[in-house]
Every structure is written in C-alpha cells, then in structure tokens.
C-alpha cells in the first residue's frame, strides 16, 4: 500500500468536469510536482484530497486509512498539511500567533505551543518577523509564514499550492533549498502544485500533469519535458526546443 493513494477521483461542478477519473500514488518521502495549464483542475484535486471538496466518486487513502470525504480539519489531524495559493492578508494575529495556532493542533498547552512555534519560526529563519502582522510583510515572507503555520501542525504529507508564485529568482532558490531540507531532514513527503517549470524540474522527483481535468502524463521530470502530450498541452514547442 502506498503512502497516499488516489483512485478514480471524479469532481463535477455542474457540467464542468474539473477532475475526471484521476488516479495516482505517492510513496513516503517523495517530492511530487503537479503541473498543468490554468483551469486544469490542480487545485480542485488538492481540495478533493484535503477535504474542501467532496469527490463525486473515487477514493483517497492516506497511510492505509480511507480519508475520502473527510473534513479539512480531519485530514489535517490525520497528518496532511496544506498551504494556500492566495494567503488571506489578515490583521488580527501576529506571525508567532499564527504559527501557534498550527502548533495547537497537537497540544493543548500554550507554552508547549509557543515553544514549538518558535522552533518552527527559527527553522525557517523567521524569528525577526515574529511580532509583525501578516499585512505588514512582503509576499515572500507571507508565503513562508503560511508554510510555517502548516509545518507547525506536524504533517507527514505537505501539500503546497504554488508556493513560489510571485517570488523572484533568488527567493525561488531559497524555497527550493528549504523544501529539499524539509524533505530530507524532517522526512516530510511533499506534493506541490507549481507553475514555475524551473522549480518543478529542480525539486520534484516525479511529475504528474493534468489537462482539462484528466491526467495526461506521469513520470520523471526529464521524461515529462519530452512527452508530446505535455508539450502540446502545457509547455509549448518553444520550451521543448529550448532544452
């Protein structure tokens, strides 16, 4: 049995089939990229796994437990963390408090939660901004806070929705380093939606490609970029020639 198994997921938004019969499996410790053009159903697939949407049919199994139709808080408690493409810019809580909410997922004690939150913040080099409110921070840092918040819930599988969009090349480099470190040092399995091909190719061990709600390819990054379907649907001829 695989770590995360997705079998025949179908999600139909009243005529628009966002996910059509998608199946794949992820093994523990892997880094998997999920790519595809806009509207291909990537975020829907994430939401079906995490529980924001209930799939019309199909099955999701995580660590040998059927989690199909679980609510997001239940999948989180089962060990799946996620970050959002758009982080709501809020003014109500500081960075430290945000991350503490994540730690409270695994403890009831405030001091323990605080200690763990500080630990995560230190690990991501966010100590300096711990007392800022999220709206006071640049977008790259906001993303990192979202990541820290999810990490504080101690996930075994972390699902990242476009964690690098809007970042400059140096910042992307940092994120790549960070993700690799999380994967190797903390043994967190990573599953990421990404548009920046450079990053996908660098960081993922395997890539899944969606188009119009269907899985059109799956394989090693080096094979994916040569795959005709993928070139046609997503990468474009120019990208393929440039390689």
């Amino acid at each position: 049995m695989s770590f995360l198994t997705v079998e025949n997921i179908v999600k139909d938004f009243g005529g628009l089939v966002a996910n059509n019969n998608i199946s794949f499996a992820i093994e523990e410790g892997e880094i998997i990229g999920l790519i595809g053009p806009n509207g291909a159903g990537k975020t829907t697939l994430f939401n079906c796994i995490v529980g924001y949407h209930r799939p019309d049919s199909g099955k999701v199994t995580f660590r040998e437990k059927d989690i199909t139709g679980f609510k997001p808080f239940e999948t989180n408690r089962a060990g799946i963390g996620r970050t959002f493409q758009i982080m709501k810019v809020t003014t109500g809580m500081t960075v430290l408090e945000n991350v503490m909410v994540g730690s409270f997922c695994r403890t009831n004690d405030r001091n323990t939660a605080r200690g763990e939150a500080l630990h995560v913040l230190g690990d991501l080099a966010l100590d300096a901004v711990k007392d800022y409110y999220i709206n006071e921070l640049p977008i790259a840092i906001q993303r990192k806070v979202g990541l820290a918040r999810a990490l504080a819930t101690k996930p075994a599988l972390l699902m990242l929705d476009e964690v690098a969009s809007g970042l400059n090349p140096t910042e992307i480099e940092e994120v790549v380093e960070l993700l690799r470190r999380l994967n190797s040092a903390k043994k967190i399995t990573l599953f990421l939606i990404e548009h920046i091909m450079e990053m996908v190719m660098k960081v993922s061990q395997r890539v899944i490609v969606l188009d119009y709600g269907e899985k059109i390819a799956e394989g090693l990054p080096a094979d994916i970029v040569k795959n005709e379907n993928v070139i046609k649907a997503y990468l474009g001829e120019k990208y393929a020639q440039g390689l």
């Binding site: 995490v50 924001y52 609510k71 997001p72 808080f73 989180n76 408690r77 963390g81 996620r82 959002f84 982080m87 709501k88 809020t90 109500g92 809580m93 408090e97 945000n98 503490m100 909410v101 994540g102 409270f104 997922c105 695994r106 009831n108 405030r110 939660a113 979202g146 918040r149 999810a150 504080a152 819930t153």
Partner: protein
Amino acid sequence: MEKLKDALNFSDFSKAERIGLIIFSVFLLTFPWIGAGSFTTTVMIQFLLFSLFGMGWNTIGGYGGQVELGKAQYVGIGSYTVALMMVWWKVPFWVSMPIGILIAVGYSFIIGYPLFRLKGHYFAIATICTSLVLKDIFDNWNLVGAAKGIELPIHDHPDFLYMQFKSDTYYYYFIMALFYIGLFYMNWFRKSKLGYQLRMIKDDENAAESLGIDIRWCKIKAYSIASAFVAVGGGFMAVYNLYIDPASTMELSLSIKIALMAMLGGAASLWGPIIGAAFLVPLDRFLGSWLGGQKGLTGIDFMIYAGLIMIVSAYQPRGIWGIIEQFRKRGH
C-alpha cells in the same frame, strides 16, 4: 493551578494598561464610600452588569468574529431559572444560579448546533430569531407569569442565601465580584487554545480548517461560554430587581445593547466591553433622565446615543479601544 496563574497574569499588557487597571480597581473598591448617591450606585451596578454581559459576548462575537444578536434569551434563561426556582420551591440563589447556567449552556448547545451551519448575516438574523421566539413563548406562557412577569418573594435583609438586600451597596459588591471573576476568566480565555483558534477562525476560516480546527465545534463552545456569562448576569438581575418579565430580560433591544457596547468599546480586546459599558451605560442613564425631564427634548438622548455609535464605528471599526491604540502607535 496553571490556569489560575494565567488568569491572574496581566504581564503581557503595557505598563499604562496595568496601572490603569489598578486605579480602576481601587476606584471600584472604594466607590461606595466616595460620595455615592443611590442614583450613581444604580448606574455603577448597571455598568458592571453590562461589562459582564459584554465580556461574555466578546468570546463568540469579538474573538470569534460572529455577529451574535441573541444574547438576551440567555439573560432570560438565567433570570427565569433563579426566579422560578425561588418562587416555586424556595431554592436558594447559590443552587438555582448554577442550574441556570447549566440550562443556558445546554440550550446553547442545542440551538448552537444548527445555528452555526449559518454564516455572516444569516447567522446574525438567526440569532435574533431564536431570541424572539423564546420571548414570545414566555410572553404567552401562563405558568411562568406570561407577559405580567413574576415577583420574587421578599426576604429579610441581609439574606446571603437568597442574595436579597435592602441596600444597593451589597448588590454593588456582589456584581463587582462577578465582574472580576469574568475579567480573570477572560484574561485566561484570550490566551487559551480556544481563544487562539477563534481568532484564526475570525481571520480566515479556510486556513483555520487546514490547521486542524473544527470550526463549528469551536464556535459552539465559545457560544456556550458566552451564554453562561450572560445567564449569570440574568440571575443577578432577578435577585436585584426582585421582579422580572419577558420585556426586561428578553427584549431584542437588550441583545443589541450587549453586542453594541462590546463593539463600541472594542471587540476582541479584554478592555473593550468594559470601556463600551463605561461609555454607554452612564450616557444612557444620565442623558435619559436629564433630557427626559426637559420639555420637548424627550428622545434626543437616543439620537445622541446613535450618533456617537455611528461616529466611532465610522472612524475606527475596532471601537474606542482601537482609537486609543491608534494614538498610542502614533506616539511611538
């Protein structure tokens, strides 16, 4: 023990706030000796009572960010439980009050469960409706006195078992004690796991869910804590007024006043409901009695009252406390 320490620990507040709290506490303690007339004592009792209501409302309404406009029904539950048990079975206050709290909490779970399927405006409307329904039932229910209300049997002064006194000073210290219990509880609450989770829910529900928070359950818990606070205040109202009817305990205007005072003072802050009550209760009372006596000026107090609320909410949505914090930030 740890919780008690947390409740009494105000060290994360600024020095000015802590000194303010001490001065305020000294004032409260000595108030009955420093030239308090019977009218001002009544106003002070009202102020403490509404602070207590507001602090309760602040759990779900302030920290949780849910526009809750049905707190009066729990004032009703608290006061009716105390009054009826005293009239029917001569049950002392100290027994009927906890039972009132239990009924209020039980009832809040029952209606909170369907209520928190709703969000935003729909939730606000539903809370108003549940409160109105309960008032209508009590208005027409002969067994509990219907719209006429019920009078409590009067005991000899001072009766600490039934909490009946001739002098307002006793009531004053009694409500002050309840006020401090509420204040310490809220001081613990804002630092508790539930407090943090509610603030996250208020900020971003989707993110909260992704962090393992069962949103609906958290809201229900906060709602029932709020209800318990309000029921205590209701119980106090019964023994203080010695007469209750649906109009004085379950009116929509009472629900709105509770929410309004907390919002005006500053929702989601420990001091907010207290500041709100400190502004609105005296304003309500003094303006009302002063202008009400003037020929042709009756009703103007409501306009002033409403105008003030509009000005504050337009200037700073976080209320009076938000304005104070804004100025403090500028000063730095």
